[in-house]
């Protein structure tokens, strides 16, 4: 058993210990015990992942663990990348949880025991090497995350609705994945990934195509790809913040992992239309996700929509990689896949950081509504700084973590125009435009989140009373901020790891890996983000110093001219809603916001207004158009079905009897 096997065994043991601690420890020490052990579990995951990324592989078969099928484990560089990300985020979030759960938000015994199990499931999904093992781990992840989303169901009514949405969407996705993988295994006459990989080339195109589409939809629902994103803006805000951080930064990644593993690994790539489909879904998700994020004023909902955007970009990259691969351009495919994988890593870093920041804000102020926040900079300086680093990353500006990967993605798309074909020459410019548009909207979104949420003056009592979070939460945020910064200024460090992960998936092998490594190194040297950041910071400092020299140190306090309308109050500042208003106006046709003005006149005279109230909601239009008819149809069927149950015992017995007889007749006829 090598390092990877030892690490996996160790993480299973640590999960058992952490769950037992969650069940057994008294309330006072529970958060600390679970947090420390789960952090160790995350560290074990990092060790496993890094070992796999540096070239070791591992495979094992444990025939006694699952009856009939047995457990097959296999870790290669691609799994290693996702395990590393999962382990690192689990490590940071577990430390964060010590402070979050220890001071006020006690989740109870059951949720404390489930949390490490959820973390372990996310480490094991990429390590599965057979269909049944993969499905078991996937379902474990889905069920534990669902139970964790429901943690606070006693406190808020909306949690139950969110849980219902999440349960339905995740189980529908699971059914599709189940169909896809089981069908693939049946067609390939073997359920281990190795057997499927060997047989996949000889399957009929119809089977391969159907399996891919089913997998795309199933994994897309986990990754929050439009139009299957409906659970994301519900479940992520309602889950406790450490859980939303894990879900949004790690769990959605595994949807991408599944897509890459099945589409490129097991099926070994496919015809052009597969990947054009994936690219279309990714581009729509990217633009629609960030558009919704830019007009929402719920902080965690905003982050959830931003997850949809980033997953869209990643799927777009994966689709581009597949497209270039099918067109016989392995080098371009490698670059696009590397960009997508790098974005997986950076997105995890900054999204975990942002959710941790949002959790701190929620804990300190009791609200997620950006319109009611503001003025947190003085009270929570570390949280504000950490959130700013995350927001910079999410906005994909130079110096932020998201910049490098999005830039790489754009470059690969632009170079992809060399691929012949009319469809490609239409699709790629549109994809470039989608990436650019989503990047621009992301800047507006995160300026809004940071500016109206943290700067200026507090707009509610909760925000005014805010205090800085406990040290463990700050330490976790600083860890994540450090990771995001390293990824932002020195992405070349990850070059060889990414190259190995890419080489493991695309069939072309080491030559492409070399190209990817060169490309990343060249990117590091020609436009070196480090230089950009150092330059920007240096120029800012010098300018500030010069200004002080020129203007002078002395400050003069003078009364502000207030146009005679009384002193400026916090009600006069920009809120999240008013900041997003121009954007909402521009995208009016897409968003279709519903506004409502109620004018109540004074009783004595219709000309004098007593009160004017203004409501505005931006409903999720895709959800309205797509889900509402389905829900209405289901409800209609349910109402009709009530006629079947009229209360007569004989009728109920008759149903049972006739179904038994029909079954037996069918059995006798088939035989």
């Amino acid at each position: 058993m090598n390092l990877i096997g030892a690490g996996l065994a160790c993480s299973v043991g640590l999960t058992g210990a952490a769950s037992a601690a969650g069940l057994a420890l008294p309330r006072r020490s529970r958060a600390t015990g679970v947090g420390v052990l789960t952090a160790a579990l995350g560290a074990a995951g990092v060790v496993v992942g890094v070992a796999a990324l540096s070239g070791r592989t591992f495979s094992a078969c444990l025939p006694d663990v699952l009856p009939l099928a047995g457990v097959y484990l296999g870790v290669d560089a691609l799994s290693g990348l996702f395990i590393t990300v999962a382990g690192a985020v689990v490590l940071a979030v577990a430390v964060y949880g010590i402070g979050y759960h220890g001071h006020g938000h006690d989740p109870g015994r059951a949720a404390s025991a489930l949390f490490p199990l959820f973390a372990l499931a996310m480490l094991l999904v990429p390590a599965a090497a057979s269909v049944s093992t993969f499905l078991v781990c996937w379902e474990l992840m889905a069920v534990t995350s669902l139970l964790l989303v429901l943690t606070e169901h006693r406190r808020r009514e909306q949690v139950r609705e969110a849980g219902l949405w999440y349960a339905v969407m995740t189980q529908l996705g699971f059914v599709l994945i189940l169909f896809a993988l089981v069908w693939l295994a049946a067609a390939a006459h073997g359920e281990t990934f190795a057997a499927i990989r060997a047989a996949a080339g000889h399957l009929s195109p119809a089977v391969r195509g159907t399996v891919f589409v089913l997998a795309l939809v199933g994994f897309g629902s986990k990754a929050g790809i439009v139009p299957l994103h409906a659970w994301l803006p519900r479940a992520h805000p309602e889950a406790p913040s450490p859980v939303s951080a894990l879900m949004s930064a790690v769990m959605v990644n595994l949807g991408v992992y599944g897509l890459i593993r099945v589409g490129m690994g097991l099926l070994g790539g496919g015809p052009r239309w597969w990947w054009l489909l994936a690219m279309a879904a990714g581009a729509v998700s990217a633009v629609y996700g960030i558009l919704q994020a830019s007009v929402t004023s719920d902080l965690k909902r905003l982050l959830a929509y931003s997850t949809t955007e980033n997953m869209g970009l990643i799927v777009l990259g994966v689709g581009a990689a597949g497209l270039f691969g099918s067109a016989g351009k392995p080098q371009l495919a490698g670059i696009a896949l590397a960009a997508a994988l790098l974005h997986v890593v950076t997105h995890s870093a900054f999204k975990a950081l942002l959710f941790a920041g949002a959790g701190s804000v929620l804990r300190a102020t009791g609200t997620r509504d950006l319109d009611a926040l503001g003025g947190l900079r003085q009270a929570m300086p570390v949280t504000t700084a950490a959130f700013a680093v995350g927001a910079l990353g999410a906005a994909a500006l130079p110096g932020g973590a998201g910049f490098v990967s999005e830039w790489l993605l754009l470059q690969s798309l632009i170079h992809g125009l060399a691929v012949p074909g009319i469809v490609v020459s239409v699709v790629l410019p549109i994809a470039v435009a989608a990436v650019a548009l989503s990047a621009g909207l992301a800047v507006a979104t995160f300026v809004k989140a940071l500016g109206t949420g943290f700067l200026a003056r507090p707009r509610s009592d909760g925000a005014a009373r805010a205090a800085e979070s406990p040290a463990t939460m700050l330490a976790a945020m600083l860890m994540l901020a450090g990771a995001a910064t390293v990824l932002a200024v020195a992405p070349g460090l990850a070059g060889s790891w990414l190259a190995r992960a890419v080489a493991g998936v695309t069939p072309v092998g080491p030559a492409v890996a070399d190209a990817v490594r060169t490309k990343l190194t060249v990117l590091g040297s020609t436009m070196s983000p480090l230089v950009v950041v150092a330059g920007t910071v240096g120029v800012t400092v010098v300018l500030a110093g010069l200004l002080r020299l020129v203007v002078g140190v002395r400050r003069r306090a003078v009364p502000l001219w207030d146009c005679g309308a009384g002193p400026p109050s916090a009600r006069m500042q920009y809120t999240a809603t008013s900041f997003a208003e121009p954007l909402q106006r521009v995208f009016d046709d897409v968003l279709a916001p519903e506004s409502d003005v109620d004018v109540t006149p004074v009783v004595e005279s219709a000309y004098l207004v007593e009160r004017v109230s203004y409501h505005r909601v931006v409903p999720d239009r895709i959800e309205h158009r797509l889900y509402a008819p389905v829900l209405i149809a289901v409800r209609w069927c349910g109402e009709r079905a009530r006629a079947l149950a009229n209360g007569s015992v004989h009728r109920y017995l008759g149903y049972a009897f006739s179904s038994l007889v029909i079954l037996l007749v069918a059995l006798a006829a088939v035989k």
Binding site: R642, N646, G647, V649, H650, G654, F657, V661, V665, A668
Partner: protein, 219 residues
């Protein structure tokens, strides 16, 4: 008892078992139906005993005695007392009339034989040839539950169903472990007791024991 004789006894008992089941559908007088149930219970006990003789399992004799006491004595006795308490002796207007019921019963027996062919062909024991009889009794019992109105007919249908299940267990596997058999019998006793209480309560509440008067069971 020699092997050939025990096989003949087994076949004869299975025939009586099936006939008693069909007869329960034929008769309208509830006292006659209960009498036929007792006959079927006794036939089941004989089946168990014959299997014990055929396969040299002495403990099957004990099981046979228990089955006989319960199904030919105790349960019909309880049903008779309920019948006396309710005072209605006729299934006056069944949902499916008697002639059609007998036709359906014939079809169900055919179906049972058609479905159980692969099981009957298994060269396990003498009993497995007669296995469709048990399945037929299960189906007839279910049909009786659907087609008869009175609460006591339901009890009879349920007992037919359970006799059929027990017969299948005996014929296919020479009986289930003694502990399971005792547990099942105890459950059966409780079910019949509960149904008896229900019959009496319905009689006092509605003046009849027609199950279609219970219509509250819907959402």
């Amino acid at each position: 008892m020699s092997g050939a004789a025990s096989v003949q006894v087994l076949d004869f008992a299975c025939g009586v078992f099936l006939l008693a089941g069909v007869g329960a559908l034929w008769r309208r007088a509830l006292s006659a139906v209960i009498g036929l149930l007792a006959v079927q219970g006794a036939a089941l006990a004989v089946v168990a005993a014959a299997l014990g003789a055929d396969e040299h399992h002495p403990e099957l004799y004990a099981v046979a005695a228990g089955v006989g006491v319960l199904r030919a004595g105790v349960l019909p006795g309880l049903a008779r007392r309920a019948l006396a308490a309710s005072g209605e002796d006729r299934e006056s207007e069944p949902l499916v009339n008697v002639a059609s019921s007998l036709l359906v019963a014939a079809a169900l027996v055919l179906l049972a034989y058609a479905v159980a062919q692969p099981l009957a062909r298994l060269e396990g024991s003498q009993g497995s040839r007669a296995l469709p009889v048990g399945l037929a009794s299960v189906l007839i019992g279910l049909f009786m539950l659907v087609a008869r109105r009175k609460a006591l007919s339901q009890v009879a249908g349920f007992l037919l169903l359970d006799n059929g299940i027990t017969a299948v267990a005996f014929l296919a596997a020479a009986g289930v472990p003694l502990l399971v058999e005792i547990g099942v019998s105890f459950d059966l006793l409780l079910v019949v007791l509960v149904l008896r209480v229900l019959t009496v309560r319905m009689q006092s509440a509605f003046g009849t024991t027609d199950l279609d008067d219970l219509r509250e069971l819907h959402d």
